[in-house]
Symmetry: C2
């Protein structure tokens, strides 16, 4: 279709419209993705995650600026899973927009969850595919927080940056342990704050304990994103990681895992929709009520609905 | 089975074993849930969510203690979606265990994600069902952070507490907007810290803007969980919310929505597993590789695999 042609030429309006389509997830979106998909697969996809208040938005805008100075183009998807109802954009987004406004080598889009958690991960993956197919050299995915959704979204990336700030409490240390295994590069932002050396030391110790398992040891980079300090070093670390993936033939493995996650997600949803169409909404609603009143458990109820399908009722 | 009998008597070892079973999600777990499910549906389920470092663990232990003084029994499920790989328990858990140790009217269990985000929400729901069936008067679900998973888990609760702390930045305000719609009660913990009145005021203003829509206006309660201050007021607010749900016949609606979410989740997974068994792992893996190498898009690939099923291949 015409929209596809325009996306492949990185037409900004077409991209904006296409991302809205994948957010709303209709038939048109799927046709579009079908057409652009063969053109994707070239971009270096970089995930950036970390707790609220760690300065990720500023950091992302600095990373984009740095890459632009090298003449490379950058697509940015900012994901906010914490706003499932309001659909509100990130506050930092406006700041970023202002910084990068007028540069046609950068495209920024915020996405918020509209319902189920699965929906956001899917829509994000689709938006990344669109930017990838449009020919952006790098696609940055920024997520707020460090929950499972963020982890799942980070898994779509080739390189994952985990952003920390100095001087957070014990509970944050526990989260670090969980993020340890997804981080390819650690960033300690706000490096002009007290406690920066402790934070770097704590991360380094944890990394040393883990390092035996893999051939890539995540570097720990100090930045002050607000002044752009350390961003050049960060970019170098990111590029090193890409070079490592290429050298070790690790890209193929990553692509395979991404593809499997995606295919599984699509199939689960479609299979359910297909069954629902067969049994009809009344029958489903009836069963929901029986589960709600504890007359039947969800597992037996599922089995019953699935059986009725094959009996042609 | 024997395990079911022991769970219904709130045998602690049986409960611990049963929760491990639902975490591992085998056939035995489903048989167990089938048997206990008709006995569940009596407990008041309370979700507690909020950012890391807001003192949720201490608060949960204080809430439990307060209810114990009223002679009511309490089951606690502490969920940590940020540790998908380590399976590690929350740091606060050990503290809580120590506080409540030896009281047979309290049962505490930590759960961490072992894989997909859907898995954690399911396992948490099943664990809550077990504690409910075991006859605990209240079941508390504590989650770290404010991502979509936490929101989904909070949705399993009758009453959701959102915990804030004074003096956080702008980005946290944005998260508050997202949590606004799931909160039945707001808790401003660490109320001895600077900025508490501003935080309470900000929440109250936001609530006033939203209040027209519903008949329940979430109260904002100040606590210092470390010293137990304000916890009695908090308990009163929670009990008020329960009375409101009963009075307005809102419990049935909640149960229906919970049942629908749960049934949908079970069916999606089972339908996928069923299809996978039919087409075989080789065929699936082949298709994954075609998606990974961008020879086919995930939507067309899903359609093809789903069609091949009905053709009996």
């Amino acid at each position: 279709m015409e929209l596809t042609e325009r996306i492949l030429k990185a037409d900004r309006r077409a991209l904006a419209r296409a991302i809205s389509l994948v957010e709303n997830d209709g038939e048109q979106a799927q046709k579009l993705l079908q057409e652009v998909y063969p053109h994707a697969g070239q971009a270096h996809i970089i995930g950036i995650t970390g707790p609220p208040g760690s300065g990720k938005s500023t950091l992302v805008s600095q990373i984009a600026r740095q890459y632009r100075q090298q003449g490379r183009t950058v697509g940015i998807v900012a994901v906010d899973p914490s706003s499932p109802f309001t659909g509100g954009a990130l506050l930092g987004d406006r700041v970023r927009m202002r910084d990068l406004a007028g540069d046609r080598g950068v495209f920024v889009r915020s996405m918020a969850s509209r319902g189920s958690m699965g929906g956001l991960a899917r829509a994000t993956g689709d938006a990344v595919t669109l930017l990838d197919a449009a020919g952006f050299d790098l696609v940055l995915i920024e997520t707020v927080g460090a929950g499972q959704v963020e982890v799942d979204i980070a898994r779509e990336a080739h390189t994952t940056l985990v952003v920390e700030v100095p001087g957070l409490g014990d509970e944050v240390q526990a989260i670090k342990a969980g993020l340890m295994e997804i981080a390819d590069v650690f960033v300690v932002n706000k490096a002009d704050h007290a406690g920066v050396d402790q934070t770097v030391r704590a991360l380094t110790i944890m990394l040393d304990m883990n390092s035996a398992a893999c051939s890539w040891t995540p570097p720990v980079i100090k930045t002050i994103a607000l002044h752009g300090e350390g961003v050049a070093d960060l970019i170098e670390a990111v590029d090193d990681h890409w070079a490592y993936l290429v050298r070790e033939n690790a890209l193929q493995d990553q692509q395979r895992i991404h593809a499997q996650n995606r295919l599984t997600r699509v199939m689960r949803r479609r299979l359910f929709d297909e069954l629902l169409a067969k049994i009809g909404p009344e029958r489903f609603e009836e069963t929901v009520m029986q589960v709600a009143t504890h007359k039947i458990d969800p597992y037996s109820a599922a089995a019953r609905l699935m059986n009725s399908k094959t009996q042609g009722s």
